[in-house]
């Protein structure tokens, strides 16, 4: 009875509840961390500096968003090659396109990044869905291949980027991020999105209902690849050069952000907004801890602890909501 009574007021705001269900504790964490950051470091977080902040956060947000689609497809779907894709795009764009071939036109550079991402995504999708190698193993193969190749063509940091690309590392980084979100909003309006979520939550039922499970999952890897390509571009804009060591570091942190943002690693639950908020949380956390001059060691502990605590709380909240539904 008490459970029913408490469920009454929340059901009046279904939209809020839906967001809460979809993103877990990430928005609360976001508000708290933002408040802390503004309080301790008003200059860095003043409205005039937001552009810079967005630029700093953009690659991580991009990496998190990119990681989500493959995970949403379920049955162990995951792409751990997102970071290396970013690093590979970074190397190709700066080293080959800009430095060797002198091609600096935005159309070519953006087109190349998207194409590279799509091609690697298709390779991952082919291995994970058609060859049916377990996704973590298949993308581990891609991970090693890309990291190795990137290091071979680019043994040490080098190069510069054109002005237009450099400017995307600042306030204008909202453009590529916005573009990715627009694409995703477009995808959400397609039947494909429903298929992806259906496949992610119960692939057998989806298959019996006539959904082309293999194709749906394959495309989720391609989308992940394209988004990772764009994230690689954002990373290139931020660092303004080619650096083989930065890209791969994004993989695990992006997957953490996705989990933090309430995306179930079992598939079929969550969304890109949650992933993005999860990424911003991690960014704000890093930002706050760096301000206190804590060493990167403390940063690491705090980051691990918050990750574990947040997913534990999300799981407990799920149970609680589940019990409430059961009682109602």
């Amino acid at each position: 009875m008490t459970a029913m009574a408490t469920s009454q007021p929340t059901s009046k705001v279904p939209a809020l509840k839906a967001i809460w269900r979809q993103t877990g504790f990430a928005p609360i964490l976001f508000v708290v961390l933002l408040a802390i950051n503004i309080f301790i470091n008003p200059a860095r977080f003043s409205p005039s500096a937001w552009g810079t902040l967005i630029g700093l956060a953009a690659p991580l947000v991009g990496a998190a968003i990119a990681s989500a689609p493959a995970i949403l497809g379920g049955r162990g779907g995951i792409d751990i090659s997102v970071g290396p894709i970013m690093g590979f795009v970074n190397a190709i764009v700066v080293l080959v396109l800009i430095q060797k071939l002198g091609l600096t036109s935005p159309f070519i550079v953006v087109g190349a990044a998207v194409l590279i991402g799509a091609a690697i995504g298709a390779l991952n999708g082919f291995m994970a869905t058609i060859l049916r190698i377990q996704p973590i193993v298949a993308t581990l193969g891609t991970y090693l291949l890309l990291v190795g190749t990137t290091l071979t063509i680019l043994p040490a940091p080098t190069g510069t980027v054109p002005v237009w690309l450099k400017s995307l590392g600042g306030p204008l980084s909202i453009l590529p991020l916005g573009a990715v979100f627009l694409i995703w909003i477009g995808i959400r309006r397609l039947p494909y999105y429903d298929h992806l979520m259906a496949v992610g939550s119960d692939d057998r039922a989806a298959y019996t209902a006539g959904i082309p499970v293999t194709l749906v999952r394959f495309l989720s890897y391609v989308i992940t690849g394209v988004f990772a390509g764009v994230a690689g571009l954002m990373m290139t804009a931020l660092i303004g050069s080619a650096d083989p060591s930065i890209g791969p570091t994004y993989t695990l942190i992006a997957i953490s952000a996705v989990a933090l943002g309430g995306v179930s690693l079992a598939g079929g639950r969550g969304g890109l907004l949650g992933a993005a908020i999860g990424a911003i949380d991690i960014f704000l956390l890093q930002s706050a801890l760096t301000f206190f001059n804590f060493s990167t060691f403390v940063l690491q502990i705090a980051y691990g602890a918050i990750l574990v605590i947040a997913i534990v709380l999300t799981a407990l909240q799920d149970r609680w909501l589940g019990r409430m539904r059961g009682a109602a």
């Binding site: 049955r75 162990g76 995951i78 291995m127 060859l131 049916r132 190698i133 377990q134 973590i136 193993v137 298949a138 581990l140 193969g141 891609t142 991970y143 090693l144 291949l145 890309l146 990291v147 190795g148 190749t149 990137t150 290091l151 071979t152 043994p155 692939d203 057998r204 298959y207 019996t208 499970v213 293999t214 695990l252 997957i255 953490s256 989990a259 690693l265 079992a266 060493s295 990167t296 060691f297 403390v298 940063l299 690491q300 502990i301 705090a302 980051y303 691990g304 602890a305 990750l307 574990v308 997913i311 534990v312 799981a315 407990l316």
Partner: protein
């Protein structure tokens, strides 16, 4: 002769690949089968195989353990630090392995009791562990390894007339123990059952949370053992020493035919997988590839090998 089961065929397949790689190496590279090179491969392969014991068990139960490299680094640094501080080495090992067990138990407990994906839990806990170690040592671990452990893993060591260090025969004995434990103990059979059908397991009197907690604790314990052995191998502590083992343990398990979906596999397969990885590494470096290219080729090889026998079932066959 009886027909091979598909599991046995996979182990045999991995072993054949290892032998083929070795023959290729011997044909292509001078000194590939020299005594020193063989000893080095045996030591490196043994270390990888010990680090992969836990990953094998965890994968059979249907999980994955990303905390192995962090626990290896933890054990490596803490052992050096404590031993360097004058503590008795046996006591140091006891403390380090005990703490590792607690870390692992926490991994398993959180993952199974809250039904959270172990990938993210072990990553989070691993990060905390690594951060704590770095914080404790200020990023510059000190201390040293006792001579006994250095000798135990030394490539130049020998056991009586055997031209290998004690590590190798000890590892062979350990591998036999693990294999027997998987096949002939209640724990081993329950491990496979739980991985095979988690919903049926409680009805067969299997306690999922207890099994996960114990298995992840065992995994961390062997990661700690690897960390201590690596301290002997390299001579000084290094927090990142475990990093190559993150993907290599998974690769060894998968190449050995243990399915990531749980319920099937063998430690013998993992040992074969560890041999394959060691052979590939030695071979590629031997023909003069840069470490970066070695990595790239390794990625391709893993995928190719697994696509031969590690493929999942199509969704239509699971209905």
């Amino acid at each position: 002769m009886t027909r091979l089961t598909s599991d046995q065929a996979r182990v045999l397949g991995a072993l054949i690949v290892a032998v083929a790689l070795h023959l290729t190496g011997t044909a292509l590279i001078e000194g590939y089968s020299s005594e020193f090179s063989m000893r080095a491969m045996l030591v490196l392969g043994s270390l990888l195989a010990i680090a992969s014991i836990g990953q094998t068990l965890v994968v059979i139960i249907g999980g994955i353990d990303l905390s192995i490299p962090f626990v290896i680094g933890f054990a490596n640094v803490v052992t050096a630090q404590l031993y360097g501080g004058g503590m008795n080495f046996a006591l140091v090992c006891l403390i380090v392995v005990g703490l590792a067990c607690l870390i692992g138990a926490l991994n398993g407990l959180i993952s199974s009791s809250l039904k959270l994906h172990p990938l993210i839990v072990t990553l989070g806990i691993g990060t905390i562990v690594q951060g704590s170690v770095l914080l404790w040592t200020g990023g510059f671990p000190s201390g040293s390894a006792p001579d006994s452990i250095t000798e135990f893993v030394s490539i130049g060591g020998s056991v009586g007339f055997l031209p290998v260090p004690w590590l190798v025969p000890c590892f062979v004995a350990l591998a036999a123990i693990v294999t027997v434990a998987l096949a002939r103990t209640a724990y081993g059979r329950r491990l496979f059952a739980l991985g095979s059908n988690p919903r049926a397991a409680p009805l067969a009197l299997i306690h999922p949370v207890a099994m996960w907690t114990a298995t992840f604790a065992i995994s961390a314990a062997f990661a700690a053992v690897t960390g201590i052995l690596l301290l002997g191998f390299t001579g000084s502590a290094y927090g990142e020493v475990g990093q190559p083992y993150l993907f290599q343990t998974i690769a060894a398990v998968v190449i050995g035919g243990t399915a990531l979906v749980g319920g099937r596999g063998s430690y013998l397969g993992t040992v074969a997988g560890a041999l394959v990885l060691t052979e590939i590494n030695t071979l590629l470096i031997g023909i003069g590839l840069q470490p970066s290219l070695v990595q790239a080729v390794l990625g391709v090889v893993i995928v190719v090998l697994v696509s031969f026998y590690g493929r999942d079932a199509h969704v239509r066959t699971t209905i």
